[in-house]
Structure formats: structure tokens, C-alpha cells
């Protein structure tokens, strides 16, 4: 279970560009739940995700994973608990390294790294099996440099990397936003398959209301650094994008002017 309690963070405090990015955000995610998070630009989606992964430490509040307080843990220490897929396909993988070396990096996540060979034969067999699931033929290109792959292929590999080892929560940071619609649909389908198979506790940040409602068990909307909407179960099943928009306007008491939220 993931528990975020009363998170506050200010960027550039005491300066004219001070930004109170999170204002007492609280969210509890039970084990095995797939939560989609939506919100306009500057709502605090990325800040919240970075706080769960350890890239940012809150000014106040706490993050607990299975009752262990991890609030002050740096990213590397938390990596055994949190796996992450980045928005930018370039960010989640090393283009200078081969596909199998990237996978080997992920295979050591949560373990102590030693002086034994990083890409071992038994690992290579596992990589081949896991990567063949993608249906991209990459299992025969394991020694190719990652930089040779397209953005969609890299995101698919990133997803395999993130789910190679057990974790407490999978963080997906708008991981289809940089892809063309067809590739994005493929990566989303892959996400549903992997998350469903392993019953992974997942938090997916997205910019698209459509995506937020079509995938996962629960949808949370952030605005100005707080949760303004939290729906799941029956209520969510019957919901359409227009309903979500309507509720959003009602809660906020203002017109939605971010086109990408409506059109996405």
C-alpha cells in the first residue's frame, strides 16, 4: 500500500517566482490498484510522481510504502520499491548501451551490484523471452545499441525494464505522450497486459481524459496541487469524458481552457 499524506512543496521559496506546487496532497493507493492521474499543466502531477520516486523531497508531509516511511529516501535507495517509465523515450534508457545492457541494468534494480558479469547467459535467455512478448522482433537484436530503436520501441523496452523485477509501485509518467497515436495505443495495450498479468500497483500520469477513464481502476484529478476528484468502481464505469469535464468545471468553478485535456 502506498500512502501519501499532506504533501507540501514550494519551488523557489521567497522569490517572485515562488510556486506552491503541492498544497497538502493526500492519496492512498491499495495494493494491486491501477490509478490514473489527470490534471492540466501545473496541476502538480509530475511533482507528485517525482515525490513518489524520490527525485523530489517534500517540504512537509510523508510518503509511506507498506508502512515504511520513505519520505527522505533518495531515488537510488527507493528504486527497489518504485519502478518508473519516463515520458521521454530518451530518458528511460541509455542510447549508448546495447538493449541487453539496458535490460541488465534493470535486472539489477533492487539488488546489490557486484563484480560478476552484468549480461550473463541465464539473464540473456530471460531477456529474450521477456522482450519477445513485445512482438517487435527485438529478441534478435539484443546486442544492438538502444539508440537505434524508435521512440515507441524504446518505450516498450522501458516498460519491460521497469517490470523485470518485483516492485511495490509502478510509476508511468505520461509514457505515451511523446508517441504517435498508433504507437501510443500499442504501448497502452502492452501496459494493460503487463499490469493486469502481474496485478501491479500502478500510478499512471496522463494528459488525456480518454486514457485516464479507459485504463485502470480509479481516476484521480489534480488541480493546483491538490486532489479535486477521485472516482472508482460503478461511478467511474459509467463516466464519459464530458462528465469528467463537467465535474471538473463544477469542482473548480471555472471554465476549462486547456484544449489538450478535452481533445486528448
Amino acid at each position: 500500500m502506498i500512502e501519501a499524506k499532506d504533501l507540501h512543496v514550494r519551488f523557489n521559496p521567497g522569490t517572485p517566482i515562488e510556486n506552491h506546487a503541492l498544497k497538502g496532497l493526500s492519496l492512498t493507493i491499495p495494493e494491486g490498484q491501477f490509478v490514473t492521474v489527470i490534471g492540466s499543466n501545473g496541476a502538480g502531477k509530475s511533482t507528485f510522481l517525482n515525490m513518489l520516486s524520490g527525485e523530489l523531497i517534500p517540504d512537509s508531509g510523508s510518503v509511506t510504502i507498506d508502512n515504511e516511511d520513505v519520505t527522505g529516501w533518495p531515488t537510488a535507495r527507493r528504486a527497489g520499491l518504485c519502478a518508473r517509465v519516463f515520458q521521454d523515450p530518451m530518458a528511460g534508457t541509455c542510447e549508448m548501451l546495447t538493449i541487453e545492457e539496458n535490460l541488465a541494468l534493470a535486472a539489477a534494480r533492487g539488488h546489490r551490484r557486484g563484480l560478476r558479469s552484468a549480461v550473463r547467459n541465464e539473464l540473456r535467455a530471460e531477456f529474450r523471452e521477456r522482450i519477445s512478448v513485445l512482438g517487435l522482433g527485438l529478441e534478435n537484436r539484443l546486442t544492438d545499441k538502444m539508440g537505434l530503436l524508435s521512440g515507441g520501441q524504446r518505450q516498450a523496452v522501458s516498460l519491460v525494464m521497469a517490470t523485470l523485477n518485483p516492485m511495490k509501485i509502478l510509476l508511468l509518467d505520461e509514457h505515451t505522450a511523446a508517441l504517435d497515436p498508433k504507437t501510443a495505443a500499442f504501448v497502452m495495450e502492452l501496459t494493460d497486459r503487463i499490469v493486469g498479468e502481474k496485478q501491479l500497483t500502478t500510478l499512471m500520469v496522463t494528459h488525456s481524459m480518454r486514457q485516464a477513464l479507459d485504463h485502470g481502476h480509479r481516476t484521480v484529478m489534480l488541480h493546483a496541487g491538490n486532489v479535486v476528484l477521485d472516482v472508482e468502481g460503478e461511478e467511474r464505469r459509467g463516466m464519459k469524458v464530458e462528465d469528467l469535464l463537467h465535474m471538473f468545471e463544477k469542482v473548480r468553478g471555472e471554465e476549462v481552457d486547456d484544449d489538450s485535456l478535452i481533445l486528448g
Partner: protein, 321 residues
């Protein structure tokens, strides 16, 4: 070069070559030695993406530590090992300034380099130490029947090959891969649970350890350590790395480390040729200038070749820019 007098009398390498056999082997010898420096520079500049100038101080540090030990009657092998660890310590200081105190990497390395000048004077107690007549790590090989100008390069060849294999093994290990990821993509490395600060500390320490080790061997080859022997070492190391990349593929780690050593030897041969070809009129004092020119050439020639090719293609198609 130490064998200037001998060189004139020695037979030419081939035909009317301006380079004698001894000068040629001498160049290979120094090339191999600086191959170790190039491997160190490869770790900092290429693996960790950390422009580290500490090596200008850690080479004389290694030389000074080894020479002081040897003159003090210690075992030369122990002195050489200590030199390696002294270099590691110097590298740790640079990396620590950067990782913990957040000083810009380039500046951090310059600060350590400057500080090392004083430290080296303290270690040696004077600006230079002669090792003439002392037992060195090369002494046991003298009795094996080969003349020194064959034996020393051979010994160095074995040392460099061993260092290269050990470095390859390390860089292909789990920790080594984590280090390569740290240099390539810090954010991704952290997300994979890699302590990037620790990797930088370890890598820069290893890099400077290698360079100090080279310094220790250099002092024992040259017959002494000198406080000024580190000037421009970083440029020579970088020249070797860049030349290596220019002449061969560096697709895998194993190839990339070979390229460092090959680049270093090529560099020395160029320098030797330039200094020995009387018609050019260059002399020993022009060494640093030649180095700088060579680095500029190695860095720009691959790009110019591409430009020429594009020009050819566009000219062939009659396409105007």
C-alpha cells in the same frame, strides 16, 4: 628523450627512414606507458563524461611516491602499488569536491591539480628525485638476455594488456555497467537504483589511480621523478583517446580500450617522426606545440572528411546548397 646520443649512432628503422630502431622502440615504449594514461582519461572523459584535469597532478604524484619509496629503500613494486593508491586518493578528492560540495567538475579537478603541486613537493621533499642506479620494477627483467630497448617495451606491453583486460572485465561487470549508465544518463541510472555519486567517486579514483601508476612506471623508466613532468598529461591522454577513436571502431568496450592504447602509440610515433625528421626542423622543445596541433587535427579531421563527402555527393547530383 633520454637516448638522444645513442639514437644518432643507431641503424635506421628501414631504408633511409629518419627514425632509428631505438627511437622507434622508445616511441612505442612511451606510447604504451601513456596508453595507461589514456585508459584513465577514457574512464573520466568517455565513461563518466567527467572532464577531469586532475591527471596533470596525479601523474607526478605517482612518480613522486614511487621515487620516494625507492630512494628510501622500499621494494619498488610496493612503491608502485602505493603510487596507484595515492592517485586513487587524488581522484577521490576531485570527485568529492564535485559530488558532495557541488563544485563544477572541471573546476574541482583544476583545484585538486593545483593542490597536488604542493603535495608533490611535500612528498618528494625537493623538485626532483633521481633513480639512477636504484633497483626498479624493471631491474629483474634486465638479466633475461634482451637489450633494454626491447625488454622495457615488452614488459610494458604485458602490463598494458593486463590493465586493459582488467578494465574490460570491470566495465562489463554489474558495477561497471552501473558506472557507464551514470555517465550516459544520470536520471535513468538513479531510477535503476544506482548511487550515481558513489559511481563518480569510484570511477574518478580508478582513473587517477591508473594515471599515477603510469607516473610511477614513467619515473622508473626515465630514471627519476620531476615536479614538472605532469604538465600537459591530460592533453596527451586525450590526444590518444581521440586518435584511437579516429583510426578504429569503438563500438564495444573491448574495442574502445584497445583504441586508447593504439591511439597513444600512434601519437608517440607521430611525435617521434616530427622530432626526428630534420627537414621539418622541429626540436624537443616543440613537443607541447606538436601535441596541441595533433589534438586539433584529430578532432577536426573526421568532421572535415564528412563535409568533403557531402560536397562530392551534392556536386555529383548537381544540387546547389
Amino acid at each position: 628523450m633520454k637516448d638522444g646520443a645513442v639514437r644518432r649512432a643507431a641503424p635506421p628503422l628501414f631504408g633511409n627512414s629518419p627514425v632509428s630502431l631505438i627511437a622507434f622502440l622508445g616511441a612505442v615504449e612511451i606510447g604504451l606507458l601513456f596508453g595507461l594514461v589514456a585508459l584513465g582519461v577514457f574512464i573520466s572523459f568517455r565513461i563518466l563524461n567527467f572532464p577531469d584535469l586532475t591527471v596533470d597532478g596525479s601523474l607526478p604524484l605517482g612518480a613522486g611516491v614511487a621515487a620516494t619509496c625507492i630512494v628510501g629503500g622500499w621494494n619498488p613494486y610496493l612503491g608502485t602499488l602505493l603510487a596507484f593508491f595515492a592517485g586513487c586518493a587524488a581522484g577521490l578528492v576531485t570527485a568529492w569536491l564535485n559530488v558532495k560540495l557541488k563544485i563544477l567538475h572541471l573546476l574541482a579537478s583544476i583545484l585538486t591539480m593545483i593542490a597536488l603541486f604542493s603535495i608533490n613537493l611535500r612528498v618528494m621533499g625537493r623538485p626532483n628525485i633521481a633513480l639512477l642506479g636504484e633497483d626498479t620494477v624493471f631491474t629483474p627483467f634486465e638479466g633475461l638476455g634482451l637489450p633494454f630497448y626491447w625488454m622495457n617495451p615488452l614488459v610494458l606491453l604485458v602490463v598494458v594488456i593486463l590493465a586493459k583486460i582488467a578494465l574490460d572485465r570491470f566495465l562489463l561487470s554489474e558495477v561497471g555497467l552501473a558506472m557507464r549508465a551514470t555517465g550516459a544518463n544520470q536520471r535513468m541510472a538513479r531510477a535503476q537504483g544506482i548511487n550515481t555519486g558513489r559511481m563518480t567517486l569510484m570511477g574518478i579514483a580508478l582513473s587517477n589511480g591508473l594515471v599515477a601508476f603510469a607516473g610511477a612506471l614513467f619515473a622508473q623508466l626515465q630514471g627519476g621523478a620531476d615536479i614538472t613532468m605532469g604538465v600537459g598529461v591530460i592533453v596527451i591522454g586525450l590526444a590518444a583517446v581521440i586518435l584511437g577513436e579516429a583510426v578504429m571502431s569503438t563500438r564495444t568496450i573491448i574495442l574502445a580500450t584497445i583504441a586508447c592504447v593504439v591511439g597513444s602509440i600512434i601519437y608517440r610515433l607521430f611525435v617521434s617522426l616530427a622530432l626526428n625528421a630534420d627537414f621539418i626542423g622541429l626540436q624537443a622543445q616543440d613537443l607541447k606545440l606538436i601535441t596541441a596541433v595533433l589534438v586539433v587535427a584529430a578532432m577536426t579531421l573526421p568532421g572535415m572528411r564528412r563535409k568533403l563527402r557531402i560536397k562530392k555527393i551534392t556536386a555529383g547530383q548537381g544540387v546547389r546548397k
